[in-house]
C-alpha cells in the first residue's frame, strides 16, 4: 500500500488498471479452454468425437471460432434501435465483469476487498438483465423480444434463490466479504461450508443436510442465472433461433458469448468461494499457499463449470411455466426452511 502511494496519482491509477485487467485476461483464456472443453465433453457424451482436424484433436478450434467471429460483417438492421443495439453487449459484459471484482482468486489477490462482496455480486449481475432486455428490444425482432422477456423473467425470479442461498452461507460465517468467508473455511475439506463449516460437532451434524440442500439450490439457481440448459429458454436454440441473440453477428455476438461464459465462471466462483472453500486446499496445510490458492480456486471453479456442461448435455429444456414453478414454489420455500433451520441451529 505504501509503495502504491509513493507512485503518485498516475502510478496508482496504472497499478489499479493493471490489477483490474487480470480478470479479463483470465476470462479470455478461460473462455478458450471452456469452449474447447464444452465441445469435447459434449461430443464424447454423445459417443462422437468433436473437431479433429484443426490442430491435434482440435485444440486450435477455439482460435478458429474466434477468428471467424472477428471477420464477420457487422450487420445492424435498419429498423433497429442503433444506440441500444450497440450498447447492449457491453452492458451485459460489464455486468458480468463487475462481479469478478469481488471474487477471491487467492489469498493475495482479490480485485476489490469490499465488505459487501456477495451482495455486490448479486447486484452487479442484475445489470445483465437490463442488457438482455436492451438487446432483445433493440433488435426489432419478435423472436428476440420473446427471448429477452423470458430471460428477464427467468433471471429475476432466480435471483431470489441465489440471494437466499448466499444468505445461508453468510449466516454461518457472519460476513458478506468473500475473502473472509474463504478464510473461515480454511483448514481442509471438513471445514467447507458444504459440510457445515468449522463448527462444533453437534451443530455440524445437524447443519449438514441444510447446507447440502442449500448448495444444490444455489447451483440450480446459478444455472438459471447463466441461461444454461435446462433453463436456456432465452436462447432456446430450436425455438427462437438464438433468442435475443438472433440479430447479432460477428464481434457483438462474440461479446454475448464471452459474457455467457464469464457469467458461468462468475456464479461457479461464487458457489466455490461460499461453499467449497474458495482458494483453500482440501488437504488443510498440504499444498496450500498463495500460488496454490489460485490453482485450487480455478480447479474447483472448472469442476463446477464441468458440472454445468454435463447437465447441459443430459437434460431437456424446461417450459417457461415449469421454470417459474421451480423457482417460486420449490426452491424458495426450501430455502426459507433452510434459513430458519440454520438460524435455529446456530443460535441454540
Amino acid at each position: 500500500m505504501d509503495a502504491i502511494q509513493n507512485l503518485g496519482v498516475w502510478g496508482s491509477i496504472l497499478i489499479a488498471v493493471l490489477l483490474s485487467a487480470i480478470p479479463i485476461v483470465f476470462i479470455l483464456l478461460y473462455a478458450l479452454v471452456t469452449l474447447y472443453m464444452e465441445m469435447k465433453v459434449a461430443a464424447h457424451m454423445q459417443d462422437r468425437v468433436a473437431y479433429m482436424r484443426t490442430g491435434w484433436h482440435g485444440v486450435l478450434q477455439p482460435f478458429a471460432d474466434i477468428l471467424k467471429l472477428l471477420q464477420k460483417e457487422d450487420i445492424i438492421s435498419r429498423q433497429a434501435d442503433r444506440a441500444l443495439f450497440i450498447l447492449s453487449p457491453y452492458v451485459v459484459f460489464i455486468g458480468t465483469y463487475a462481479g469478478f471484482a469481488a471474487i477471491p482468486f487467492s489469498s493475495i489477490y482479490i480485485g476489490s476487498n469490499i465488505n459487501l462482496g456477495a451482495f455486490f455480486i448479486v447486484a452487479a449481475s442484475s445489470l445483465v438483465v437490463i442488457g438482455i432486455l436492451m438487446g432483445g428490444w433493440a433488435s426489432n425482432n419478435k423472436w428476440s423480444i420473446f427471448g429477452a422477456m423470458r430471460s428477464a423473467a427467468q433471471m429475476i425470479s432466480y435471483e431470489i434463490p441465489t440471494a437466499l442461498a448466499i444468505l445461508v452461507a453468510v449466516m454461518i460465517t457472519g460476513s458478506l466479504n468473500l475473502q473472509d468467508v474463504t478464510r473461515f473455511q480454511e483448514g481442509g475439506i471438513q471445514n467447507w461450508l458444504l459440510f457445515g463449516g468449522p463448527l462444533p460437532l453437534m451443530q455440524k451434524i445437524l447443519i449438514i443436510p441444510f447446507t447440502l440442500i442449500t448448495f444444490l439450490i444455489l447451483f440450480i439457481a446459478s444455472l438459471a442465472e447463466v441461461n444454461r440448459t435446462p433453463f436456456d429458454l432465452p436462447e432456446a436454440e430450436s425455438e427462437l433461433v438464438q433468442g435475443f441473440n438472433t440479430e447479432y453477428s460477428g464481434m457483438r455476438f462474440a461479446m454475448f458469448y464471452l459474457a455467457e461464459y464469464a457469467n458461468m465462471f462468475l456464479v461457479s466462483g461464487v458457489a466455490v468461494a461460499l461453499f467449497l472453500g474458495g482458494w483453500s486446499s482440501p488437504f488443510g496445510s498440504f499444498l496450500s499457499g498463495p500460488i496454490w490458492g489460485i490453482f485450487w480456486f480455478i480447479g474447483k471453479g472448472m469442476a463446477l463449470v464441468f458440472l454445468q456442461i454435463w447437465i447441459r448435455w443430459t437434460l431437456p429444456r424446461l417450459r417457461v411455466d415449469q421454470l417459474m414453478y421451480t423457482s417460486w414454489k420449490v426452491l424458495t420455500p426450501f430455502l426459507f426452511v433452510c434459513i430458519i433451520a440454520v438460524g435455529l441451529i446456530l443460535v441454540l
Binding site: H44, Q46, D47, I311, W313, T314, L315, V330
Partner: protein
C-alpha cells in the same frame, strides 16, 4: 393423494431422473466414440451395394434393353448394323455380336442407382460396382462414355453399312425391274416340242393380250 405428497413426490422424482440421466451421460463420456476418420478410414460397402455403374463394352451386343429399362433415361445407345462379311466376335457368355456400338453414354448424374438396367442385360455386361467417390468439378465430366470405337472405325462401319445397303437396294431395284418385265408378257408360254427335231424353243413373240 394429498397435495403435499404430490409435491414432494414430484421433487423426488425430478431429482432422481436428473441423477439417473447424469449417470448415463457420464458413462457415455468414457465409451469409445463411433466416429471414423474418413477419408483415412473408410467403411466397407456391402457385397451387393448399388453404386457407380460399369459397362464391359466388349460384352455389349447393343440390344438396348438397359436403356429401355432405365426409369430416368440416363443410358443412350447408338448402334450400327454390321454387314455379314464382318466378324465382330462373340461375348464372353457366348452371344455372337452383330451390332457395332459407337455410342454408349451413361449420364451418371441422372442415374438413380435403382439397378433396373442390370437384370435385362443378356450378357451381364452392365453391373453396379461399390465405387461411391466419383465427384467431378464439371457436370459434363459426369457423362461416362463407354464405347471404344474410334471415329475412323465408326466412319468405316457406317461406310460399309451404306455400301451394303446400296448394293441391296440396287439388287432389289434390278429384281423389281426384272419382275416388272415378267407380268407384261401375259401368261408364260409353255415350251412346245417341235417335230423338226430338236430345235431350241423360240422365245415367245410379244402379242397383245386379248
Amino acid at each position: 393423494m394429498s397435495a403435499a405428497r404430490i409435491y414432494f413426490g414430484n421433487i423426488y422424482s425430478a431429482l432422481l431422473t436428473v441423477a439417473v440421466g447424469m449417470k448415463i451421460t457420464f458413462k457415455h463420456l468414457f465409451t469409445p466414440s463411433v466416429t471414423i476418420q474418413y477419408p483415412e478410414v473408410k467403411l466397407k460397402m456391402p457385397e451387393r451395394a448399388r453404386n457407380r455403374l460399369y459397362v464391359n463394352i466388349d460384352d455389349c451386343i447393343g440390344c438396348d434393353q438397359c436403356a429401355m429399362a432405365c426409369p430416368v433415361d440416363c443410358i443412350s445407345i447408338d448402334t450400327i448394323k454390321s454387314t455379314p462379311d464382318q466378324d465382330l466376335g462373340a461375348t464372353s457368355t457366348g452371344h455372337k455380336k452383330r451390332l457395332h456400338v459407337p455410342k454408349f453414354d451413361i449420364d451418371i448424374a441422372k442415374c438413380c442407382y435403382c439397378g433396373l438396367c442390370v437384370y435385362p442385360c443378356p450378357t451381364e455386361c452392365i453391373v453396379m460396382t461399390d465405387v461411391y467417390e466419383f465427384s467431378e468439378f464439371d457436370r459434363h465430366d459426369l457423362i461416362y462414355h463407354f464405347s471404344v470405337m474410334t471415329p475412323g472405325e465408326i466412319e468405316l462401319a457406317k461406310a460399309k453399312l451404306k455400301k451394303s445397303e446400296e448394293e441391296a437396294a440396287a439388287k432389289k431395284a434390278a429384281a423389281a425391274a426384272a419382275a416388272k418385265a415378267v407380268p407384261a408378257a401375259g401368261t408364260a408360254p409353255v415350251p412346245q416340242i417341235k417335230s423338226d427335231g430338236g430345235s431350241p424353243p423360240q422365245p415367245p413373240t410379244p402379242s397383245t393380250p386379248t
